[in-house]
Subunit: 136 residues, 2 copies
DNA sequence: ATTATAGTCTATGTGTTTGGTAGGGTAATT
DNA sequence: AATTACCCTACCAAACACATAGACTATAAT
């Protein structure tokens, strides 16, 4: 399951994608429209900024905005950043790989099945971008 | 990610499937072969028994064994039992559904994408059984 | 320069889950 | 009597989830 934080991140990005090229958007506006606790959202947006997905402007007329074109931000990237591994097991994760202690990966039935699951999922989230999440 | 508990459950079941029709298997044997902390495993096997997947016999010559044919126990069932929802969001879960507070499911882009992910995953884990996990 | 705006940063809190360890006693079977 | 599952309590450390509060700092308009 995705954490609340991840859901919020995706929702917020969907909104910012929708508002793309319309200038900075207030944290408060996003919080209101997407029903996200404001201070919680603050931290999430900052994380997305530090990762280079968002950029921000302070002062009047400031706010957050996408640092890239919505089509250039993959859903998979956001999930990995905010939520962590997409795979069901560390031993089949591409970005968070950790060796499995109680199986030899060369012939582990569970391992093989989980690779299939991972690929089925990646096949979707690696292809989808913020364009697919655009929403008011 | 699957919890350790879930990994252990699947590993143990794979072993019991491998030993199917060879009489009860000691908890200690499973723990040893699959490198699972014994007391932890104890609880897991009990849970699987209460769910009707395993059966057990006490006393000398006792142990745990599959209550059903390995081909009749779906991987999806085990994951739902021990790990919880397979879907990435509560609002797209079939067995653990919970309404989403910050979207109207009729037209929520995230919702739709997560249904796709769910189905891609289910397409695998609903078809695989303990036969596919059989392993010494 | 001042002031309001709006993002940034740090700290704190509470509760839950995870992944164990340790020990005991009970009930059934051989 | 020995074996083995069953069932219970207690404890622990660490992480995670989901926030809230307050102070600080940069920006821009006046």
């Amino acid at each position: 399951m995705l954490s609340k934080r991840s859901q919020y991140a995706l929702k917020a990005l969907g909104y910012l994608a929708y508002k793309y090229d319309q200038g900075p958007v207030l944290i408060a506006e996003i919080a209101l429209k997407k029903k996200i606790p404001l201070k919680f959202l603050e931290g999430i947006l900052l994380e997305l900024k530090l990762a280079g997905i968002l950029d921000s402007k302070k002062g009047k007329g400031g706010g957050y905005y996408l640092a890239k074109h919505p089509g250039d931000v993959k859903v998979a990237t956001v999930i990995r950043l905010v939520n962590g591994p997409i795979a069901m097991l560390p031993c089949v994760s591409l970005y968070f790989y950790k060796r499995c202690e109680n199986c030899n990966e060369k012939r582990c039935a569970l391992h093989d099945m989980m690779i299939e699951v991972r690929d089925a999922t990646l096949n979707i989230v690696e292809k989808r971008t913020l364009i697919d999440l655009m929403e008011s």
